[in-house]
Symmetry: C2
Subunit: 488 residues, 2 copies
């Protein structure tokens, strides 16, 4: 098998057998292999970079506001660099202009609320820590040179430990976490500088003034250039999630009764957004607290009520999650007549429930009460009654076919009730739908009404009123007729 010009090496062993030594791979091969390896690595690297860039591009196209946020930070940083580039300002604020740059980089957040939270935390914590450090430095310097480092050291240790620990307390964590960090930082810096630098007040003054410059710049950029309000985000997220839940519910029931199309399978899973949005809802509500009045939102807009609505949406989503597992299997067991018997009831309940959810979502997003809500609740209650009646008449259906078959015989020995076990998946499907309806009525409607009251939502436009008046007129005239009749 070897070429004629290749040398073959054979080793003859002690026992008479011989072994052919395989020729070593040619150096050309090694180079080639190395080349292939490198080429593979390069291709992999380029592919990964390409994937990364594509992902970034998709993200930018999907939500351009994220790109705009990046540009805004760039603008703010450019502006603050001016303080450094322009000599007069530089000489004024001194080398600590660097603090302004740091402030911009560390404080600038995606939402206005986030930026304000960090700005205000930073300013107050810096002031508080600065004054405290100056005070303790004064005490320390008056208690003799020997004790000074001990006093400062112990005060740093105690304050840093206590502040770090207090970050674990939920209220502090939600509102002042960043402030705690800045407090420790400023206290350490000022008190350490106090030990070395003689013009301590200058240091404190410079740091505070540059921080104020930085924070002002951040607040202006984030509030006046294409602002993204945490409150508005929350205000849009909640009804969006509610719509998704309504869509999932529709798809789920349609799929169960075989009325689905390809598109519905995709939106079947959309309730999962509501399941996983707890953390972001809470962050937004926390940030929204710090925001000034904007758009339709007043100063003390009840953001916590949005969290309650979010919670009630999630409670519905839990049920839908359980409902969706009814779709996997067991579906085919259910006898067709029984399925047909309950189909219209289930479809009605599903339609009225999802309509109610959508109406509630409209109430939240338009901030306007709606008279349709009461009607939708009534519709849903009627649908529940209908499905309960269907379930009540189910036993007849379970027996009837056999009665008809054995018309001429005595029924006593021939009754074979259709096995209940086959009906159970459908029955539990229906009772899950009823449970969802009750959660919508008890939780979601209530929490939306609470929000409508505490946020003073606009009254519904009087589209229904004329009709209502007509009804009243009719009732009045009916009553007049009645009294006329009684008089007769």
């Amino acid at each position: 098998m070897t070429n004629k010009d290749e040398v073959e090496w054979v080793i003859r062993l002690g026992d008479g057998s011989s072994t052919v030594l395989e020729p070593e791979p040619q150096p050309k091969h090694v180079v080639m292999r190395l080349w292939d390896c490198l080429k593979g690595l390069a291709i992999r690297f380029v592919t990964r970079m390409w994937m990364f860039l594509k992902k970034a591009w998709d993200l930018g196209v999907d939500d351009p506001r994220k790109l705009i946020h990046g540009l805004k930070l760039g603008v703010a940083l450019m502006f603050v660099s001016l303080f450094y580039y322009m000599r007069p300002l530089y000489d004024g604020v001194g080398g600590s202009a660097i603090w302004a740059v740091m402030t911009v980089v560390l404080v600038f957040e995606y939402t206005v609320g986030g930026t304000l939270y960090k700005c205000l935390n930073r300013i107050f914590a810096t002031f508080l820590a600065g004054f405290l450090a100056l005070g303790i430095h004064w005490i320390a310097s008056h208690s003799g040179h020997r004790f000074e480092p001990y006093i400062m050291g112990i005060s740093i240790f105690v304050l840093a430990s206590a502040t770090t620990f207090s970050k674990f307390i939920p209220v502090v964590k939600a509102r002042f976490e960043y402030g705690c960090t800045i407090f420790i930082l400023t206290y350490s810096l000022v008190s350490l500088s106090g030990y070395r630098v003689d013009h301590l007040l200058n240091v404190a003054h410079e740091r505070v003034s540059t921080i104020i410059i930085g924070t002002c710049l951040c607040i202006i950029t984030s509030m006046f250039i294409y602002p993204i309000w945490a409150g508005s985000e929350l205000h849009h997220l909640i009804p969006r999630n509610m719509d998704k839940i309504a869509k999932s519910l529709d798809c789920c029931v349609a799929y169960y009764f075989g009325l689905d199309d390809d598109e519905s399978m995709k939106s079947l899973q959309s309730y999962k957004c509501a399941l996983n949005s707890k953390a972001s809802e809470e962050t937004m509500a926390n940030f929204a607290r710090w925001e000034p009045p904007h758009g339709n939102f007043n100063f003390r807009h009840p953001w916590t009520n949005y969290l309650k609505i979010g919670m009630s949406s999630r409670r519905c989503a839990y049920c839908i999650e359980t409902l969706s597992s009814c779709l996997d299997s067991k579906n085919d067991q259910v006898p067709e007549p029984i399925k047909t018997h309950l189909e219209s009831g289930c479809m009605n309940l599903c339609t009225s429930s999802s309509n109610l959810i959508r109406e509630l979502a409209i109430v939240v997003s338009t901030m306007t009460r709606s008279r349709k809500i009461n009607m939708a609740v009534e519709d849903m209650k009627n649908a529940v009654l209908e499905i309960q009646n269907d379930l009540k008449s189910l036993p007849d259906l379970l027996i009837q076919p056999h009665e008809q078959k054995d018309k001429n015989k005595a029924v006593s020995s021939d009754i074979i009730v259709m096995p209940l076990i086959e009906v159970i998946p459908l029955v539990s499907f229906a009772s899950l739908l009823i449970e969802i309806a009750s959660r919508i009525e008890e939780d979601m409607v209530k929490t939306v009404q609470e929000l409508a009251e505490s946020a003073k939502f606009k009254q519904a436009e009087d589209e229904v009123k004329p009709k209502h008046n007509q009804t009243i007129d009719k009732i009045v005239s009916d009553e007049e007729n009645m009294t006329a009749l009684q008089r007769v």
Copy 2:
């Protein structure tokens, strides 16, 4: 009504009527009111402070590690202050020793993984940004004094915008968010300093060396003084949540059949911990990636598998949430004989399910495979079969009482099936239990097995093996008998 020694002022008006001037409230009253007001404020303040301190105290007693974390930061900060207090070191590292203090305050996190994540991000981002800034500064300084500020300004704008935008990409957000911030910060600082400071390399060198001092101190303190590993936390959180789910399931079923005590009502809600722990699980898994091997965890321990188990636990918790709403109402409607008929089946299924969950939790927490799992799965499957049989025999129970009553008559006209609607709550309760069992089998067992394989869990101790051998021996001897028989 006025006392004799009080003066009454009367104004006689133009129209002849008169008005008695009310005596003004005594100054003593105003002071008293102010005093009361102040006292109220003070009491409120003291009460709130007291509540806050009590909350903090409870938190510290509940989890002393949080207190220890605070003390650790204090220790690290004390140590780093030494660099500032001791003159030789201070002269060596210069005024930028302040960076070491900043590093400690900003980088020190609760878990080792969190600290390492921030440290490594900080070091790499500082290096990368420093070199990039030096490079671009070199280019800028060679392209003439006129273009220099423009090149630097544009580069800051572009890099800051791009880096801020890239923080929104999920992979970057999870692993390099802090690094991105530090990258922008360092790049701005170095390139701005480069424009003013002549000894740029010195600045860069000082900053890098102080940051390394700070990070090393942080890593040492967090890894060697009472370390809290994110990996261990995750490793304990997952089975703890599983146990809570098992407990909730037990309580739920016991409560439904009226076997509950006061204590069980409390632990009924404990499944909610599992519902809400998604965010913290993900954070811990992210931090755990950065941790070196410790305890039983190797370098590439499959932390993502823990997230999968967490997800499967949550899927069970969703079902239990739906199950728990069966407890609120409708419970009393179910006729007692039907309830008794299904009680043992439900209790068995619940016990076997919660046993299986507890076994799986033990597997996860001890990192040892268990032969009991297969037996527990079999138990659970048998319990499902049992309950399905109970459900199958339910129709007989629904009709029987009436057949017995009307023994002597023809049944045809007298069959009144017990209304199915009354049974539905119990039936859907049972089918939810079956659904939970199927989720445990399909999701939880599978994800735990995946973890066991990828983390190479220890084999079970051979407690069951002898029995197994006996069985094999028996089979062999049976086979021998068979062949003996065949031979005959």
